[in-house]
């Protein structure tokens, strides 16, 4: 049985739907990361799961118990969860009391409370601040206190809403290490949101993409980043080449797809006449000066339209009947002696093209 299960949860704020039919299942010891653009509804979903607000429709089962209807169930359920808010608030008390209050409210003995509180503060590196008025802490310090007070109660579910948004890379790494440790040691379910894609990829066992209130796709990191099932998800995970096409020929798995008068070869199961999107990651496109096909099925002669150097990589936009964006190293760009207006060849494998249906 899943620890957390939602059935068609929807939420509206004054007639505006911010969550639409969310169906989620999260098991014990699963790390689920929600990604999605600003305003997608990530925080709203977490607030519903932490029972801080009620959805306008749908069911929420926590450990098999429907927790939306009964307040007694809610308190009991909430005491098995912890929530590190996007902008955590601390109480006007010292850091120790801020972390200890969750334990006190669970009627823990004072000696145990003291020991656990000190351990939790140690874990997040805030021991030196133990007697400080929590209201005087900086953003990152506040966030660490919030993480300590969330962990100190040893929850079964931990909600983390942008847990490292206010932190520098070193603190972020430290917190990730703490979380990784907890994931290994305790069988805890973690549901986190992040704008930091690499953090999502590092920590998650499962990803969910929430766009415009809809949970468009859930799956492994690999699924989401390489096999998105919709244009929206593809765009969000940074697949920058999204071409519109129509299947012209289908031969077993290998298909010919018409794109703006050109033919792109791709692996697909769609029938002839099917309207599709072709998704191509920029880094899979190879540029060369001559028509050397190699193993690539797709080779196009094209004209360079734009060149942007960002750090050690160069992003080039070319036009070959349709527009393509590629990313190459600065050395490669130098070897190609690339310049705007120059004619070069762009090639990519049929397997580098991911085909999804277009409605």
């Amino acid at each position: 049985m899943a620890l957390i299960e939602t059935v068609n949860i929807s939420q509206k704020y004054d007639d505006r739907e911010v969550l639409k039919n969310i169906n989620l299942k999260i098991d014990k010891a699963e790390v689920f990361t929600l990604i999605g653009p600003t305003g997608a509804g990530k925080t709203t979903l977490i607030r519903i799961l932490d029972l801080l607000e009620s959805p306008c429709s749908g069911r929420f089962l926590f450990d098999g118990v429907d927790v939306i209807s009964s307040r007694a169930n809610q308190l009991e359920a909430r005491r098995r969860m912890s929530y590190v808010q996007q902008r955590p608030l601390v109480f006007a008390m010292d850091v120790f009391d801020n972390v200890a209050c969750g334990l006190r409210w669970r009627h823990m003995k004072s000696t145990a409370t003291k020991r656990k509180t000190e351990e939790a503060l140690e874990l997040v590196g805030m021991t030196a601040y133990i007697n400080r008025n929590a209201r005087t802490l900086s953003g990152g310090e506040t966030q660490r206190v919030a993480i300590a007070r969330a962990l100190v109660t040893e929850p079964e579910v931990l909600f983390l809403d942008e847990p490292t948004a206010n932190m520098d890379p070193i603190s972020t790494a430290k917190i990730e290490e703490v979380l990784a440790h907890i994931i290994n040691e305790q069988r805890i379910a973690i549901i986190m949101t992040t704008h930091n894609m690499s953090q999502g990829q590092r920590m998650a066992s499962k990803l969910g993409v929430l766009i415009n209130g809809e949970l468009l796709q859930t799956g492994s990191v690999n699924d989401i980043f390489n096999v998105p099932t919709s244009r929206e998800v593809a765009e969000f995970v940074g697949i920058e080449n999204i071409l519109q096409g129509e299947v012209a020929e289908a031969d077993n798995e290998l298909a010919s797809i018409r794109v703006d008068g050109e033919t792109v070869r791709a692996i697909s199961n769609y029938a002839v006449g099917g309207k599709v999107y072709l998704l191509i990651r920029p880094e899979t496109i190879v540029f060369s000066l001559s028509h050397e096909a190699g193993s690539a099925r797709n080779v196009f002669k094209c004209k360079v339209n734009q060149i942007n150097t960002i750090g050690s990589v160069v992003r080039i936009e070319v036009e070959c009947g349709f527009n393509l964006l590629g990313v190459i190293t600065t050395e490669a760009a130098r070897d190609l002696n690339i310049s705007i207006g120059k004619e070069i060849y762009a090639s990519f494998k049929a397997t580098a093209v991911h085909v999804i249906p277009r409605w």
Binding site: D50, L51, L52, R71, L75, R78, R79, M81, S82, Y83, Q85, P88, L89, F91, A92, C101, G102, W105, R106, R149, T153
Partner: protein
């Protein structure tokens, strides 16, 4: 003018020698005002929380009414209490007229709108997220409410002090329902008011100095709290 200086000297004498009557009146005044203040606080804290945390129809109107009653004249409260508690009134059986008890009841009615209104304002000053943060850390609704109160503690204390100030300084109500009975319901303000008219200026002055001194003390504490 000579009378005045003489009166002042005599008043200081009464204070320095801890004159029994002055001390007795002061003690009673403090006891009655403090009782009213404590009772009003006990009533207004939960009531204020209820009004603050619940959404209901007519909430704004209710808040307006409460604020209007901030400045209700003391004699009007005296009149209402009199109507209810006089021998022929609906609560006359309790026989409470002209006792310290009825003075406390009157003062509670008088100051509760202020205490209530300021408690609600104090709670509104706390970030809404504090309540939710407490809930998400495992607090019950009652416990989370206490947490919000604790965040508003200085503002709530200010409310209580305001109530105390009004209770200790009013005269109309104390006179009407207390009756200024010597040794029983006489408080500083009623003593000043009546003894002055009878010509006993020294006692009035001594009591006046004490009242100002108390007001000063309350003000100092109040200002300290507001600076937090």
């Amino acid at each position: 003018m000579n009378d005045f200086t003489q009166g002042f000297v005599k008043a200081l004498e009464l204070l320095v020698t801890l004159d029994p009557e002055v001390m007795e009146i002061t003690g009673r005044t403090l006891a009655i005002a403090l009782s009213s203040c404590v009772i009003s606080t006990i009533l207004c804290l939960p009531l204020g929380s209820l009004i603050h945390f619940k959404q209901f129809f007519g909430k704004r109107a209710l808040l307006n009414v409460i604020q209007t009653f901030y400045s209700i004249p003391t004699v009007v409260v005296g009149l209402v209490v009199f109507i209810f508690f006089s021998r022929i009134g609906p609560l006359g059986v309790f026989n409470l007229m002209f006792t310290p008890t009825i003075m406390v009841i009157g003062q509670v009615i008088l100051i509760s709108p202020i205490v209530l209104g300021l408690v609600i304002a104090a709670l509104s000053g706390v970030d809404k997220g504090i309540f939710e943060t407490a809930l998400s850390l495992g607090a019950s609704h009652v416990r989370a409410t206490f947490q919000v109160m604790s965040e508003a503690r200085y503002a709530i204390l200010s409310a209580v002090i305001m109530g105390f100030g009004r209770a200790i300084s009013e005269v109309g109500l104390a006179l009407m329902v207390g009756g200024n009975i010597r040794g029983f319901t006489r408080v500083i303000t009623t003593a000043i008011s009546l003894e002055t008219s009878k010509g006993d200026v020294e006692l009035s002055m001594a009591l006046g100095i004490i009242l100002i001194f108390i007001a000063l003390l309350v003000n100092i504490v109040f200002n300290r709290l507001q600076q937090r």
